[in-house]
């Protein structure tokens, strides 16, 4: 521990002083007993990325043992989940064949979350990847709540009336969502009541605004749901709760942050709502069988010039230099849009007031009182998503939703190629023809055995997301999975892992080209 602390200090140099994330925002209370570790809990979004990752061979903390292939597999497969959708469920044809999802932690505990659900009162399926920072609380809340907000926004007026009547009269509710959850994806029981009442308030307001026979627009519904949930998170933190634990929890949610990348698929209609630097990429199969990537979201970070312009335009000219500094918002935050993160949204007074009235744990940590520098005209941050609508075509074979941990290790074109080849099977592997070349039997055998080895690594995974993560973590410079490298990356000690890789979360949704083709006509 001491060694890594030391190492960390040396490497991070003076930036250590800029840590704003209050240690209290970390998930478990026991961490308070060890301030050193707490202070070093790396914050995903607020540090400059460590790009030394490929040079781990010289690291002082070089692991001395290797994992066996089964051990590697058990780590990679611990969080994998697959769901197959029947092509015809008795009512509707499904354009989605199923999805695979998986996540690989780098932070301990992991700060990424994922959700997948089928809308029961309306049509369509929802998928979301949430990348938390400064703790996982906000991402956790999103994974539980956001789809309900979206589903409620999508409900026609009549259904909302029915829903309200049912709650009013104490009748059991028709379920709105059918969740597709991995056993490790938990819902917090304590907060459910609070969440429900906020949700109910939302649909009551929607009831007042809508009229009978009105069909909500999907894009509009998504924007409303995103903004409303962020607003509710903020309000709940301001209001607090009589229950000390809950009060503390809502504060943790509000003071931590999360990006969200959500896909809504209904028949041939695909909507992507993105807030932050998660990304949605469509795998398109070309006529020649190869795959190309079609990105369906824009990253909200400093690399996106439009975003930089937007952020600068929202604040006085005097702040132009400070509002985006070192490619970060206010020099601190990588994503330019996010849920939670009230430190970038509330006024300084509001932050002080809430912290003072908050539970004792907040006072004990000085970082909680940290206010971002050059904080003049809040809010600096919004949760409003950017919506991209896409009409699915038969050549659109799959959609990859991933947290930035995936996209920074693999290029999107590479991601689409790996997934595409996996899903279509080895048959798509370019067949060998000798043609007029001079090839000896020995050379051919070597080539074939190499190809076979490649195929067998493909078939180690039953889950496309696992397969993709295996490549993301274990690919060597030749683009093939190198067991040694994979083993090293996965056996990094907890406190080092985050320096070499980020949490990776992947959802791969596979489309049914026949259904899509039929619906197109």
């Amino acid at each position: 521990m001491a060694v890594t602390c030391q190492l960390f200090r040396v490497i991070c140099g003076r930036e250590l002083g800029q840590i704003w994330a209050p240690a209290i925002l970390c998930q478990t209370c026991c961490q308070f007993s060890h301030p050193c570790k707490a202070a070093n809990q790396p914050n995903a979004k607020s540090y400059p990325r460590w790009h030394l990752s490929r040079a781990y061979g010289t690291s002082a903390a070089r692991p001395t043992y290797y994992l066996t292939p089964p051990q590697v597999n058990s780590i990679l497969k611990a969080n994998e989940y697959s769901f197959k959708v029947p092509e015809f469920d008795g009512k509707n044809l499904s354009s989605v064949m199923g999805f695979d999802s998986n996540q690989l932690p780098a932070n301990a505990p992991i700060e990424d979350r994922r959700s997948a659900a089928t809308c029961l009162q309306t049509r369509g399926m929802l998928y979301g990847v949430f990348d938390g920072h400064a703790g996982c609380a906000c991402a956790q809340a999103l994974s539980e709540r956001l789809f309900y907000y979206i589903a409620v926004s999508l409900l026609p007026h009549e259904t909302r009336v029915e829903l309200e009547n049912a709650v009013e009269s104490g009748r059991p509710l028709q379920p709105i969502l059918q969740w597709h959850k991995h056993p490790n994806d938990y819902f917090s029981r304590e907060a459910s009541h609070l969440y429900f009442s906020s949700l109910r308030t939302y649909w009551q307001e929607l009831l007042d605004l809508s009229t009978a026979g009105e069909q909500p627009d999907v894009a509009e519904a998504l924007v409303n749901a995103f903004k409303r949930l962020d607003n509710d998170i903020s309000l709940e933190a301001q209001v607090g709760d009589a229950n000390a634990f809950l009060h503390y929890w809502v504060l943790r949610v509000a003071f931590s942050g999360a990006t969200a990348c959500v896909a809504h698929v209904d028949g041939n209609d695909l909507h992507i709502a993105n807030t932050g630097d998660g990304r949605a990429v469509l795998g398109v199969q070309e006529a020649d069988g190869s795959f190309s990537a079609l990105t369906l979201s824009n990253d909200h970070n400093a690399q996106n010039e439009a975003e930089v312009r937007r952020v600068r335009a929202e604040h006085p000219r005097a702040e132009a230099k400070t509002v985006v500094k070192q490619d970060r918002l206010l020099g601190l935050l990588m994503p330019f849009r996010a849920f939670g993160d009230v430190k970038f949204k509330w006024s300084i007074e509001l932050q002080r007031r809430v912290l003072e009235s908050g539970p004792d744990q907040l006072h004990e940590n000085e970082h909680a009182k940290f206010i971002p520098p050059n904080y003049h005209t809040p809010p600096y941050l919004t949760a409003e998503p950017e919506i991209i609508r896409h009409r699915l075509r038969p050549q659109d074979r799959f959609l990859v939703l991933g947290s930035d941990g995936l996209w920074e290790t693999l290029h999107r074109q590479e991601v689409v190629r790996i997934v595409g080849e996996y899903l279509t099977g080895v048959h798509q592997q370019q067949p060998i023809t000798v043609g007029g070349y001079k090839v000896t039997l020995g050379q051919m055998q070597g080539l074939l055995q190499e190809r076979k080895a490649r195929i067998s690594s493909t078939f180690e995974d039953q889950n496309a997301a696992t397969h993709l993560i295996r490549h993301a973590v274990g690919s060597n410079e030749f683009g093939t999975v190198d067991h040694e490298r994979l083993s090293k990356m996965l056996s990094l000690p907890e406190e080092l892992a985050r320096m070499y890789r980020d949490d990776i979360t992947v959802i791969i949704v596979q489309f049914n080209p026949h259904v899509i083709g039929a619906q197109q006509k």
Partner: protein, 893 residues
């Protein structure tokens, strides 16, 4: 000259450059051939005015591959005229074009080795006969063994080949190195050297056969597709082609890959159960030191590959574990021309090749050839007249041995068409062993995926197919399965082999493969003991069951004509009888029950379903009052075997079942439990006391449950076919299809008592039998009890083992089993005295009784005691009955 043009075109020179020069250089001789053979004009697409087809012919052969031309050649040789051969593309453009060219006698069963041996001799003399170069080189071949089990199977093959008079030597690995310069012998246990095996150029042989056929008056038309076959009243009347109709009496389907569809497109659908699989072989460029053309062919079956010399380099292919079935949805000419190479698929075979011949590593690749082959559900080819349509013959489904078989198979089929039967027993190849039930495309697709790898897989005694199972089952299948039944399949029907007691585990399938004592030895022993001492139930529902009824006595008349025994017995009697052909040989061996004056219940072996049906139908007068019905599916058959069977039944029916009240070989309709109308027959198919119950299927479960419940106190248990087999063989009961076939007469197997020469009807085969009785039999069915054979340590006999008498080869075994009673192995088989003056010698009692007999199991000879009658002690438990020997004796396998 015309012929020369045709020949080079026929061989698609562009595709086979290597043949081109050959064809050219023998051009002058071709011309001469043309002169003496009255060659008719041959139609090709290039001709602007294609020769019109003849309007009629005697026989039309469809398919110009090596099989079709061989049939044409042999028919012409047998004196047939007006033979027309139609080929949809060009001669030999299908599988023949891509054949690897190996002619080997290393085949799993004797008749196949015989066919290959004949082909070998034919191809050798063909060049002389026709002047067409066939590329025949007598290279010999080497079958390698990488392990002891494979070596055993090769030694077994060697002893079988010796019986056929085919030269072969079992050799040591270092001899292999002497015979073949490239073979790595370090992991070899031994090998079998077949010095007479050869390689040829299949398209050239095809061409030579075609030339010779043309020389004998056969008319060949290329680029002429058969649309369908015209059938009238169950007879072929003509063939409709895209270029007009040809009237004909006979049609031969030699369409190879296309045979299935051609059969389906006939007016009366003909089932030709075969399915295509991709087959790959590799051609290399010449080695640095070119491999001489007479280098032996290597068959490394454990490596799943074969290798032959080819133009200084090698040709190597194999039968991989995961074959790629193709054309399930149908096929066309184009596809077969454009098959893709698949190197990834070939990788295991390439690795096996480089392991066997490491020095080939630096050899350059010429081409990977993908050549679709057709396979059948049981690895044997399809030959003979189809059951439904007279005059419709088939020869197809060569299981990638088309070249080896074509000569012999063509000869047998030509004989069949000429004389009504071939000169050897071809029942294992007879298309009538299959019925419509094997015609499902899904079944064929799955089964051929198993069959193709099986070609080179080690085949141990009693192996079963694993795919395409559970097609036909008894209504008791689930009940028996939960009680530990292990299953085998016959004609699509699941039959229990034995029952694994609860709590006892047998070896996994792969591990249980052995040539020695099998893991079920004690289990079957317990079942046999129970049959001897208490009572056992065996589900024998798979039997073929027919009902023959008539208004008058037509049914009796027909059966009296067909059966050697006298069927004019009182109602309720059961008669065991053979159905013989004109030669006196068994076409079927069955039990006939006289249900009433004019109705008979005929019980035949399982795989007789199609064959027996067509045999009876063929001899049945077209009389609307006479009716034959297949009732196999209507009855479940339970066999109660053992001394306590009568107690169980009498308790269930309140009727005394003792021999005084229910004598042997009687049938009564009675009630068993609540179920009425059960046909109870006092026979067991094993020689033990007991009963057969023929139960309408809806009562099957009830009767079974009742029998098991009541039988409890008598120690009843389930038994399977292995117990049955042990029981029947120790009692010297022959079984049709294994011991008896169409060349065996009742006199040769000691069943004269079942032939009633003096009955008033002149039954089929009577004259032949009378003559044989006069002259004496030249072969005799005997029973051999192995002595000095250690059941634990020695190889077990199976069937096909040579029998020696005084060190002289006298016969072959046909079946064998361990007798738990005698505690010895018992083999059944035929022996014939060696002829002294060229004419067959007659079997005398001395020949059997005096002489030191030995059975050769994989090269090791075990002394055996020869017997003409079973041990009477085996029957001690039964009350002595006059008709002890009359107990039934056919059964499946």
């Amino acid at each position: 000259m015309h012929s020369c043009v045709w020949s080079s075109r026929a061989l698609s020179p562009a595709l086979l450059p290597r043949l081109f020069s050959d064809t050219r250089c023998c051009g002058p001789r071709l011309d001469r051939l043309v002169l003496w053979g009255s060659v008719r004009l041959l139609a090709t697409a290039q001709d602007s005015h294609p020769t019109p087809l003849p309007s009629q012919a005697r026989v039309v052969i469809c398919g110009g591959g090596i099989v079709g031309t061989s049939v044409a050649y042999h028919l012409a040789k047998l004196g047939w005229t007006e033979i027309v051969l139609l080929e949809q593309g060009r001669l030999g453009a299908g599988t023949t074009r891509l054949s690897a060219g190996i002619v080997s006698v290393a085949k799993p069963i004797a008749i196949e080795s015989q066919m290959a041996d004949y082909s070998n001799a034919l191809y050798e003399r063909l060049e002389e006969e026709t002047g067409v170069k066939t590329g025949f080189v007598r290279t010999g071949s080497l079958c390698l063994a990488q392990n002891q089990d494979r070596f055993i199977s090769l030694k077994r093959l060697a002893s079988r080949l010796k019986v056929l008079g085919i030269a072969c030597d079992v050799v040591k690995p270092k001899d292999v190195a002497k015979l073949h310069p490239l073979v790595n012998i370090h992991d070899l246990v031994g090998a079998l050297h077949l010095p007479r095996d050869a390689v040829v150029s299949a398209p050239d042989v095809n061409h030579a056969l075609a030339m010779a056929a043309v020389g004998h008056g056969v008319q060949i038309y290329e680029r002429t597709s058969v649309n369908h076959v015209l059938v009238e009243k169950g007879h072929v009347t003509g063939v409709e082609t895209e270029r007009g109709t040809i009237e004909c009496e006979y049609f031969v389907n030699c369409a190879g890959q296309w045979a299935y569809e051609l059969g389906q497109s006939s007016e009366v659908k003909v089932s030709v159960p075969l399915h295509g699989c991709e087959h790959f072989y590799l051609l290399t460029k010449p080695l640095q030191e070119p491999l001489p053309p007479n280098t032996p062919v290597v068959m490394d079956m454990d490596g799943r590959i074969y290798v032959r010399a080819w133009q200084g380099g090698v040709l190597s292919g194999g039968f991989e574990k995961n074959p790629k079935p193709i054309f399930t949805e149908g096929r066309n000419q184009l596809e077969i021309q454009n098959m893709q190479e698949d190197w990834d698929h070939f990788e295991p075979m390439l690795s096996a090749l480089l392991r066997r011949m490491p020095s080939l590593e630096s050899c350059e690749i010429h081409q990977l050839v993908n050549c679709p082959e057709s396979f059948t559900p049981d690895m044997r080819c399809l030959m003979g007249e189809t059951p439904g349509v007279h005059g419709y013959f088939v020869l197809a489904g060569m299981n990638s041995s088309g070249l080896s078989f074509a000569g012999g198979a063509g000869k047998y089929l030509a004989e069949w068409m000429t004389y009504g039967y071939p000169s050897a027993n071809v029942w294992p190849l007879d298309i009538k062993r299959f019925g419509n039930l094997q015609s499902s495309r899904t079944f064929l697709r799955h089964r051929v995926m198993e069959v193709m790898p099986l070609l080179y897989e080690l085949k141990v005694p009693r192996w079963d197919f694993q795919t395409g199972r559970q097609l036909r089952t008894s209504p008791l299948y689930d009940r028996l399965d939960t009680q530990g039944a292990r299953w085998m399949e016959k004609h699509g029907f699941e039959r229990a082999k034995y029952f694994v007691p609860a709590g006892k585990d047998l070896l996994a399938l792969d591990q249980s493969k052995t040539f020695y004592k099998p893991d079920w030895f004690d289990i079957v022993g317990a079942e046999v003991k129970c049959c001897k001492e208490a009572v056992c139930v065996i589900d024998m529902s798979s039997f073929t069951k027919f009902e023959l009824t008539s208004s008058g006595d037509q049914a009796l008349e027909l059966l009296q004509r067909l059966c050697a025994n006298d069927l004019d017995v009182p109602v309720g009697h059961i008669v065991h009888t053979g159905m013989l052909n004109e030669r006196g040989g068994y076409e079927n061996d069955c039990s006939v029950v006289r249900l009433s004056k004019n109705s008979f219940f005929i019980i035949s072996p399982t795989d007789q379903q199609v064959h027996c049906w067509s045999w009876i139908k063929r001899h049945m007068p077209s009389d609307t009052q006479l009716h034959l019905e297949d009732v196999s599916w209507k009855f479940t058959a339970l066999n109660l075997i053992g001394p306590r069977a009568m107690d169980v039944l009498s308790e269930l029916s309140y009727v005394s079942m003792t021999p005084e009240h229910f004598p042997s070989l009687f049938c009564k309709e009675m009630s068993v439990g609540y179920a009425n109308g059960i046909r109870v027959m006092s026979m067991t198919h094993t020689g033990e006391p007991g009963f057969m119950l023929y139960i309408p299927i809806e009562y099957a479960l009830h009767v079974y449950n009742e029998v098991m419940a009541v039988g409890q106190k008598y120690g009843i248990r389930n038994a399977g076919y292995y117990a049955l087999r042990s029981l029947r063989i120790e009692k010297f009961f022959a079984f049709w299809g294994q011991d008896l076939e169409s060349f065996t007469t009742p006199l040769e197997c000691g069943r004269e008592f079942r032939v009633k020469f003096d009955k008033h009807t002149d039954f089929l085969g009577r004259a032949a039998l009378l003559q044989q009785r006069q002259e004496g039999v030249t072969r005799r069915f005997i029973m051999l009890v192995l002595e000095d054979h250690d059941t634990e340590l020695d190889l077990w006999p199976w069937w096909g083992e040579p029998i020696y008498r005084n060190r002289e080869l006298v016969g072959v075994t046909t079946s064998s089993a361990y007798s738990y009673t005698l505690e010895r192995h018992v083999c059944l088989g035929f022996v014939s005295p060696p002829s002294l003056d060229g004419t067959p010698a007659v079997v005398t009692p001395d020949f059997i009784n005096r002489g030191d007999y030995e059975v050769d199991i994989a090269g090791q000879r075990y002394p055996a005691k020869a017997k003409l009658y079973p041990f009477s002690s085996l029957f001690a438990q039964q009350r002595r009955r006059k008709d002890d020997m009359e107990l039934s004796n056919f059964q499946g396998k």
